[in-house]
Symmetry: C2
Subunit: 335 residues, 2 copies
Amino acid sequence: MSASVRDVAAAASVSVGTVSNVLNHPDKVAPETVARVQAAIETLGFIRNDAARQLRAGKSRSIGMVVLDVGNPFFTDVARGAEDRAAEDGFTLLLGNSDEKLAREGSYLDLFEEQRVHGILITPVGEDLARLGRVQANGTPAVLVDREADRAQFSSVSVDDVAGGYLAARHLIEQGKRRIAFVGGPHSLRQVQDRLAGARKAVAETPGVQLELIDTDSLSVLQGRAAGESLRSREAVHRPDGVFAANDLLAMGVLQALHMLGDIRIPDDIALIGYDDIGFASAAVVPLSSIRQPAALIGYTAVDLMLREAAAGAGFEREHVVFQPELVVRQSTSG
Amino acid sequence: MSASVRDVAAAASVSVGTVSNVLNHPDKVAPETVARVQAAIETLGFIRNDAARQLRAGKSRSIGMVVLDVGNPFFTDVARGAEDRAAEDGFTLLLGNSDEKLAREGSYLDLFEEQRVHGILITPVGEDLARLGRVQANGTPAVLVDREADRAQFSSVSVDDVAGGYLAARHLIEQGKRRIAFVGGPHSLRQVQDRLAGARKAVAETPGVQLELIDTDSLSVLQGRAAGESLRSREAVHRPDGVFAANDLLAMGVLQALHMLGDIRIPDDIALIGYDDIGFASAAVVPLSSIRQPAALIGYTAVDLMLREAAAGAGFEREHVVFQPELVVRQSTSG
DNA sequence: CGTCGAGAATGAATCGTTTCAAGATTTGAA
DNA sequence: TTCAAATCTTGAAACGATTCATTCTCGACG
């Protein structure tokens, strides 16, 4: 169908090797020849076949990334940062969405391995990283994003979620709230576990504070709304007076159920805080307090580590970058 | 590095052809042999090299998609629909973000062509589709998303933006607003042109209604906030009483500037309507009226058309699907 | 008992690019 | 004028999976 190097070579009356050199090492070819070959490329509409190129190279110029939810602005921000760093070195970022499902995560991992991707960035769904370990063993560096694990095996870029959870819960307590509810799930997600652990710590520090768990199936607006509705349907005295949602999407859902569909005052009746500080949080019905993470920087750093690991080859000393989260107070907790 | 079909063949004491058959046509191989080969694959940790596979096949199992802004939930919704349809036929969606920049759009197009992608879905940045025409001519079907153009050359899935713009502006007028401002840009985007054209039509229908244009550099929250601030800094009498933003991101920005940073009442002082009806619109400080588009369905349909075109080959009769937008009234226009 | 055919397995050829050792040509110095 | 060095160009080999014309093996049937 489309022209190959051979066709270009014939049209320019040179060998295929020379065409390839024009493409990849133009300095090794006489200027006049370069011009002739480029003219031929132009007239034939030649387009490099990346498959053949990769086959020879053994590796692609792509980086694979698997996130938990592309619909979550936090992850698109991370991806944007990752893309920026990748572009600096001429790599392309391939974005996959696991939707918090192990099966989908697995098929993206398969795909990326088959594509001989340069490296993988992943926010894993579960605790079992054996599959990822195999990828790593096959020579494809994998970096954990927004998650830390076996420090010797995987480099990681994360945020101290325990500290973040602590900040959130303590803030609610400082606002005078005593019956705190943690809305989040599934608990197989490390992020959920850690944020809850931080909250537990803050609760334990202050006598008389109770912590209630409200589980969700995923970290989505819809699940948040469901959780909020279950709270709304309770008698007022049995409701918590502070809600800490495991991320902003959930918090937005809770907010919708309590404030917009119900007549519960935020923050007077119930104070609400989320996590991630996505752009939309500040523009919510009641501007949402949240825990800010440096999303773009996380992505940028993750690609950076990955590239370094790929360049260093085996025996690379894994690195671990941990950012500190930051409390952002808005009206949803401070009237 | 990693095992090849040849290694597997040796380990299972069969020929490479047989290994390939086990992988692709297991029914053509004796069950016992299949088992033996699969065992070998397992123990060697063999992973198909997609580059080699594609090289032979000539085409990849991927579909390329270029959107204007991944940060815009509208486009991630479209992408989600596209991914679903692609997955039905075993294709993978590669998502690229042009960020409304011609250069980035071009480099994604290059990349996709080099990867011999099965087809391309694109919301083009500018009016010049010559580049895309060349892609099409080289045998890669391209479908326009959220945009219509040369009907004979490209299939398209779009929403009647003129009708949408009309709906939005007429709604503001029906709410008694007479000094309408259209916030949007760049005008090189067809979406912006069309929505404005619709608004103009509605304005022309009612005597005594003025339309003012407030240009933005892109369709982002930040640009919306800037536009809102310029409005806020005016004397009240010179402000419009109705604002139609070219998309919800802009509208959210305007909302922040007017309502949260200023003390302008929405919708009493200024009514505000956006476009796209992204999920966050309903949860805004003042729930945002908007024009709804069937995002996921647009993506789903676009892949469907693309796949049909790819299957039919040259001489395919281009198809054009146009959805009708829908007015969603919330508090930002109706107190 | 010979022949035919279905089913299974084979392995060389192929896809298009890059690499690299070897050959060809030019340049410059002696 | 000659030779070595520097500069260009060449073309075959390699990457790894898939295809397909061929070969091989049985078993059934006349």
